[in-house]
Symmetry: C2
DNA sequence: TTCCATTGCGAGCAGTGTACGCAGTGGCCT
DNA sequence: AGGCCACTGCGTACACTGCTCGCAATGGAA
């Protein structure tokens, strides 16, 4: 199936559309941000738009198209930061900005992970990533590989971060929810190192853990990419 | 909600159950492997098991429980490789094995990314990861951070790999499917570096690209982890 | 002015996860 | 030995999903 961006938005003849792809995408993003991606149904988006459900299909061919539009809408809303010339610093800024966008739109990482997006907004970001690794002595293939490595780590890191965030607030609460199972793990000798880490570590939910995991990981990947 | 592993499988009284959690999980894994995760519905799993739909709820409380069981079933099916003492090599072997399992069960990476799993099988893997980073001079918190970094990259890399695999076989076919949109990108000057890479690179779908992206990324992350 | 491609949309279809309630089973306690 | 009752299997139903069909209304092109 052709991507939605290959199909024209407006028809030559006929009545003026009451809405637009952008308006549909914006409504869907608003719902996903405030109530979660599961709340984004065709009926719900249509209702928020003041339209009938079936009318949405005049603007897109499927719900997958809607997801593509949502991802691209967010990419346009936050354009990539301007390059400074310091490639290493630019890469880190791109990484931090990407993570911030994904945390602001908690549905984004998961949607993007399962559906590669090539809308105009996403392409502008890819252009920035390629600019940041340009001049490092990499050929075209290696540039793509390097950018993929960095972006895949970011996606993985944010997915993990969000999963932890969704599962509870801190280690104590987490242990309480696991109940007897958590106690059994920490006390037993079946998984000695897991038990040790559970007792010693501040826990997977400590305040700045996500921050530090991300910072350490991204710096090490950039070491490799820049040294190349 | 308590995790399913905190709840006992068998009741003291009553008639012998006709099935078991393990059988339900195995049936679901079989369906997901052959027909995709979307084909895994409660009705379908029950039908494959020769049971009524509502009967499944005697073995688990929700579909989320079923997903947890599926992930853990796969983790048990393929236990982590034995450590050799060479920590760097062990980490790489763990990474390669994890990637192989995720490619063999294409639904696994996505499910795991959105739902942290703490079943017995998953814990055994975590134990192996912690063993591999033990003795590197890291404290408990740092060990968790290091393991997270590596695993998150693997998840991200496999998700990307599967997305590319699902979207088409090679660059030519991909360009054909994008139709005029792909041509416009490669020819236009709106995204010069993207256009350049599209023309020069063997493309995101070249045979061994996924292999090389993964190898390069994991080696660079391990550089950072082992160097500490 | 006529034509007809296009829009809006009510109704409906096939599918989903899950709750309810009832019949039947069989281990435990008297 | 007898009966209690926790438990299992499951038919049915509900509220929801993405999506299609068909029809009335619109408005630029001929």
């Amino acid at each position: 199936m052709e991507p939605i961006w290959a199909r024209p938005e407006q028809a030559a003849r006929g009545p003026r559309p009451a809405h637009s792809r952008a308006a549909v995408a914006a409504a869907a993003v608003r719902i996903a941000d405030t109530e979660g991606i599961d709340a984004v149904s065709m009926r719900r988006v249509a209702a928020d738009l003041g339209a009938g459900t079936a009318s949405l299909y005049r603007y897109l061919a499927s719900k997958d198209d809607l997801l593509d539009l949502m991802v691209d809408a967010v990419a346009r809303e936050q354009p990539p930061p301007d390059p400074t010339g310091d490639r290493r610093a630019d890469l880190r800024t791109l990484a931090d900005t990407t993570r911030a966008v994904m945390l602001r739109h908690p549905w984004l990482a998961a949607v993007q992970a399962s559906r590669p997006n090539i809308g105009p907004g996403s392409l502008r970001w890819l252009e920035s990533w390629l600019t940041a690794v340009d001049g490092l002595g990499l050929d075209a293939d290696e540039m793509l590989t390097a950018v993929d490595t960095v972006r895949l780590f970011i996606t993985g890191a944010v997915l993990g971060e969000l999963a932890v965030r969704a599962s509870g607030l801190d280690m104590n609460r987490w242990m309480a929810e696991q109940g007897s199972y958590g106690d059994a793990i920490a006390a037993g000798d079946r998984y000695p190192r897991v038990a040790h880490v559970m007792r010693e570590a501040k826990g997977p939910h400590a305040g700045d853990r996500a921050e530090r995991t991300f910072a350490q990981g991204i710096e090490r990947i950039l070491d490799g990419v820049v040294a190349g």
